[in-house]
């Protein structure tokens, strides 16, 4: 990486929008501003002030767009370098034109993620924050943006620091008996290390469990709409997308391929997959489609099982529902369609639930007229967030490596717990080794703990000395 050059890119998502932002970062940012923006006084412009101006071609001074721009003098900018941000009128063409002007004026195109990388290398972000910025950029919905912002503000870092602090404290209580003997006047606490480590393991667990939500925020909740032919799957898809995407016909088995669409349901990015009707295949193409369906179900984060509520449940309905119901760890939503017609079926008629206590949530809708769609949106949101309230935790992890670090930490802590329980005959230096490894693993997310910090904790807790 070469920091002596200046990078530029379109900083807002590709596609039409109200405004688009061009970001330019590096030592040339100020000069580029002078070359492509007008009117500017001889004295230039002040840092962190919003100006109104015109982008001009650096060669022939032709006006390109009417813009607002801000210059951030380093190190007080996102990247830590001199940075120019130009708010242009949205639209890919205008943005491309302005970007090209900036490139001709001395910038080079930024590599993917290069702004964030520079910010990171200039110590403007820690690792968790850097990733959060990346998420913010790719966040696909409002809710996603909120999560990413929270992390940007250090929500995850805060949580991790709390966790490290608790671990350090526990470690200090164990290390003190290694660093000092009874003659040093240190009394070993009759402390409840075991309940403390259990508490910490639970915290690690619940943080690790946010991965599912974090990932859903980042990449979307994959919801497969399944059901027998002509249950109204394509109508539902169209209803949820608010546009006609799938071909709707009363002929069963119209949908032979898969339709995948991304949309925003209750603030959650959802990737909807409409599938071929589930029924014994009548031709080769359909058979292939149904094989794919089970594959899709396998990859899905959740399943929306749609049945026609205006018909009596058949043996086939009961069988199919039972098969989907019994897929382990697959959140399921039962939707009874065609509520505009007289109801001839309710959820009970789909047979005795294999586990009566955990019957999936049921929603009645009319895909055709839109009745019950709002209730359905709420139910999908709950399904995605895997909670009854639909509330979201204050810190979420969204990356697989973060989860891996937490899981590694948890394994170490579980071994330490085994040692602390006393049955394993594990000496304290081994318990300490496990806790140190847990600290190291957690440190992979925001930063490491040093031996000196361990001693600081010991000294702040214990009266020691000759």
């Amino acid at each position: 990486m070469n920091f002596s050059d200046t990078i530029a890119a379109i900083a807002t998502p590709y596609g039409a929008g109200g405004i688009g932002v061009i970001r330019i970062s590096g030592p040339e940012a100020r000069n580029i501003a002078l070359r492509i923006l007008t009117p500017l006084s001889q004295n230039g412009f002040r840092s962190h002030h919003l100006y109104h101006g015109t982008v001009i071609s650096p060669e022939n001074h032709q006006a390109l767009d009417d813009v607002l721009f801000t210059f951030f003098e380093g190190p007080h900018s996102f990247t830590g370098e001199d940075t120019l941000e130009i708010n242009c009128h949205g639209g890919p063409l205008i943005l491309e034109t302005v970007l090209e002007a900036a490139l001709r004026a001395g910038a080079r195109p930024a590599e993917n993620g290069e702004f964030t990388r520079r910010a990171y290398l200039n110590n403007r972000l820690d690792l968790a924050q850097a990733e959060a910025v990346n998420d913010l950029i790719t966040a696909r919905t409002r809710q996603g943006a909120v999560f990413a912002l929270e992390r940007l503000e250090g929500g995850l870092s805060r949580k991790i620091n709390e966790l490290s602090g608790d671990l350090l404290d526990l470690l200090a209580r164990i290390e003190v008996s290694i660093d000092f003997s009874a003659e040093d006047g240190v009394e070993e606490e009759a402390a409840d290390h075991l309940s403390e480590i259990n508490r910490i393991i639970n915290t690690v667990d619940s943080l690790a469990a946010t991965y599912r939500q974090g990932k859903i925020e980042r990449t979307g909740f994959r919801l497969v709409i399944a059901g027998r032919p002509n249950a109204g799957k394509s109508s539902l898809l169209n209803r949820l997308l608010g546009e006609k995407r799938a071909i709707v016909a009363s002929q069963p088995g119209t949908t032979r391929d898969f339709i995948e669409e991304a949309t925003d349901i209750g603030g959650i990015p959802v990737r909807l997959t409409d599938t071929a009707g589930l029924r014994p295949p009548t031709d080769e193409i359909e058979k292939e489609g149904i094989d794919f369906l089970w594959e899709k179900l396998d990859q899905a984060d959740g399943v929306l099982y749609l049945v026609d509520g205006s018909r009596k449940a058949t043996a086939e309905d009961i069988d199919l529902f039972g098969r989907i119901y019994t897929i382990p760890d697959k959140p399921l939503l039962l939707v009874l369609n065609k509520s505009d017609l007289p109801a001839l079926m309710d959820e009970k008629s789909l047979g005795p639930a294999p586990d009566a206590g955990a019957f999936p949530p049921v929603v009645r809708i009319s895909a055709k007229y839109g009745d019950g769609i709002e209730n359905l949106a709420v139910a999908i949101r709950r399904l995605a967030l895997n909670s009854n309230s639909g509330d979201t935790p204050s810190a979420v992890i969204a990356h697989a490596h973060q989860r891996a670090s937490l899981e590694k930490a948890k394994e170490s802590l579980q071994r330490a717990r085994e040692g602390l329980s006393g049955d394993a005959g594990m000496p304290p230096e081994i318990v300490a080794l496990e806790i140190r490894e847990a600290l190291d693993s957690i440190g992979e997310i925001t930063g490491k703990t040093s031996n000196e910090e361990i001693l600081d904790h010991i000294f702040s807790r214990f009266c020691i000395g000759k």
Binding site: M1, F3, S4, P75, G80, R118, Y120, L121, N122, N123, D126, L127, E175, S177, I178, D179, F180, S181, E183, G185, G425, P427, P428, E429, I430, A432, L433, R436, E437, G447, S450, N451, E452, I454, L455, I458, F459, C463, I464, G465, K466
Partner: protein, 622 residues
């Protein structure tokens, strides 16, 4: 009279003695200065050598060919095994020695080395020419030339003793201090600071009612520190446990402003792990009592070291405080407790060899580097003495990795992190402490000691033989398989360990808690090992097996970073992406490897990435 030497060592404490011995034994004409030759290798505070993490250092110095362990073996009168209930990696040895015998034994060794010259005198000045030290000048103004100088000034550098409101210049109570040298070091451009330490009162044994205390006898069957020691003394002296009372705490509380620590008279920083009684009472208000340990200072003396009663209050209060402890009601104070402030040189100004960065040939060791403890001093003295000798002989420096020795951890911490309170070694500073045990110090280091010429061929052969027996024993046990059949299960039950479910090796059995090497004797494949050391090492290797592997994996993972050397002339200001603060930190320490840079407080992963990129760029440009 020849006044030209290879190495001059200034100060004959624990650091200075090791430095001078190492240099002279490595073939250097060496001159050792001490203010008075009657106080070489003095123990001015507690009468003990060793302790947690410290005994590892003693054994490492011994394995490399240093002296401290052998002197302690010759003069110890009370032996403790610390952390005996815990695993072998964090166990430690503490010897209480007869202080007078200790210093005389060390002096006798020093005097017998042909190339080692002792001289009584106070060094007042270093002679520096073109950034290189060329000699020293003593108080009468005589110049002594040297190619390397090791400063081991202890508490003598700018020493100031405090007892209540009274203070006076002294290196120890009643001894001269070195103030001129301190001024010169500052003038030469060294960043110095001020630290504080102290020592408790000495009491007269015959005035103590020991019946009111709890007697602690020495452990039976102690093992020597040194693998080169034949035997230990037969003399044994007990210690006694007492405790402070609410009256003690009231006395301190009511008169706290008479303590120079609380009146503002003392500005030096004291160690948190070694608080004076004032600090204990004031900071840990909830504790009703603090322990007091009464230790004999020697066989032929009445003096008793009253550990736990260290303070710097005026004499009249000291007396009342002593008398408030059960058993000490009538105790006679022979030496008052006192506090002492002294100068240290911020050790981030040193290279990993302990040579200063700004003056070539000048080495610092011991309390001048901000450390405390006899063992820490001896370890650095040895390290500095060896490196001074190697530099004089134009041989490559002697360095160890953090994964090889506590010594290396200590030097790395000092040079990389610097010091903001008196520095002591703790097991928790060593991330690889399962490998850095006191029991395996000879295995880890004696080969290196031999390479330095400080371990003899015979000693080396002896260790190599033991190492071969250890690895032979481990492979034999690993090859010996037993099966879950009735006869075997019966033997296991007799040993007191649960039966096996699957076939197992004897080595796996040895991993079990409570199973010793000799327990396995009835099982096929076992062979008697007469050497207790060899047997113990096999047992420890078995007990820690999986964990040792994990530590070794961690080492090889970090080797990458420790292996990346940073050019000495690196211009940190020219590295893009580093804040001014981090640039300053790196420039101050001038780390020798990326690994070391990563251990500088405040250095982020991002900074390391930027540094790596900068090194890469430089390489590409060349």
């Amino acid at each position: 009279m020849n006044r030209q030497y290879d190495v001059i060592v200034v100060g004959g404490g624990h650091a200075g003695c090791e430095a001078a011995l190492a240099a002279a034994r490595m073939g250097c004409e060496t001159l050792l200065f001490n203010i008075t030759l009657d106080s070489m290798a003095v123990m001015p505070c507690n009468p003990a050598i060793g302790g947690l993490a410290k005994s590892q250092i003693v054994k490492e110095v011994d394995a490399l060919g240093g002296e401290m362990g052998r002197i302690a073996d010759k003069t110890a009168v009370h032996f403790r095994r610390l952390n005996a209930s815990k695993g072998p990696a964090v166990q430690a040895t503490r010897f209480q020695c007869d202080k007078q015998l200790y210093r005389l034994a060390m002096k006798a060794v020093l005097e017998k080395i042909p190339r080692l010259h002792l001289r009584q005198g106070l060094v007042e000045q270093l002679v520096v020419e073109n950034g290189r030290v060329t000699g020293v000048i003593d108080q009468p103004g005589v110049f002594y030339g040297a190619r390397a100088v090791v400063l081991t000034t202890g508490t003598f550098l700018g020493g100031l003793v405090h007892i209540g409101d009274v203070r006076y210049r002294a290196g120890r109570a009643g001894e001269l201090a070195a103030w001129e040298l301190s001024d010169q070091l500052k003038a030469l451009g060294f960043e110095t600071g001020r630290l504080k330490t102290g020592t408790p009162p000495r009491l007269r044994a015959s005035s103590i009612d020991f019946s009111r205390t709890t007697r602690q006898d020495s452990d039976p069957d102690p093992e020597p520190f040194s693998f080169r020691s034949e035997k230990l003394r037969d003399d044994r002296l007990p210690s006694f446990f007492a405790a402070t009372t609410t009256e003690t705490h009231r006395l301190i509380h009511d008169n706290i402003l008479r303590s120079p620590l609380y009146s503002g008279a003392i500005t030096g920083v004291s160690a948190r792990y070694c608080p004076s009684l004032e600090d204990k009472v004031m900071h840990f208000v909830g504790k009703g009592s603090h322990p007091v340990v009464l230790e004999h200072e020697g066989i032929e003396t009445e003096e008793i070291y009253a550990k736990g009663l260290g303070n710097s209050l005026p004499p009249e209060f000291q007396e009342q405080i002593v008398h408030s402890v059960p058993g000490l009601e009538e105790a006679e104070i022979m030496r008052l407790a006192y506090a002492i402030e002294y100068d240290f040189v911020q050790p981030t100004q040193l290279k990993l060899t302990l040579e200063t960065k700004i003056i070539a040939g000048l080495y610092l060791a011991g309390q001048i580097n901000g450390t405390s403890g006899y063992e820490e001093a001896a370890g650095q003295g040895f390290w500095a003495g060896v490196n001074a000798a190697l530099a004089v002989q134009k041989r490559p420096p002697f360095l160890l990795e953090r994964s090889e020795a506590y010594l290396a951890v200590m030097v790395d911490e000092l040079v990389t992190r610097g010091v903001d309170e008196p520095f002591r070694m703790f097991p928790s500073r060593a991330e690889y402490r399962l490998l850095l045990r006191e029991d395996n110090a000879t295995i880890r280091l004696s080969e290196k000691g031999h390479a330095l010429g400080l371990i003899t061929d015979d000693e080396r052969r002896d260790i190599q033989k033991k190492m071969a027996q250890i690895s032979g024993g481990i492979s034999r046990l690993s090859a010996a398989r037993i099966f879950p059949v009735e006869g075997t299960q019966k033997i296991l039950t007799e040993i007191g360990t649960p039966p096996i479910k699957n076939p197992a090796t004897l080595f796996q059995l040895l991993k079990r808690e409570g199973v010793s090497y000799d327990n396995l004797s009835p099982l096929p494949g076992w062979e008697a090992i007469p050497d207790a050391f060899v047997k113990k090492e096999i047992e420890i290797e078995a007990k820690y097996e999986g964990y040792i592997q994990r530590q070794q994996e961690a080492i090889s993972k970090r080797k990458g970073f420790d292996g990346v050397r940073i050019p000495a002339d690196m211009d940190y200001a020219a590295i893009p992406g580093l804040s001014n603060e981090l640039q300053a930190k790196l420039a101050r320490v001038a780390p020798e490897t990326i690994g070391q840079a990563g251990r500088i407080p405040g250095i982020t992963d991002a900074a390391i990435t930027a540094l790596l990129i900068a090194i890469k760029k430089r390489e590409n440009e060349k």
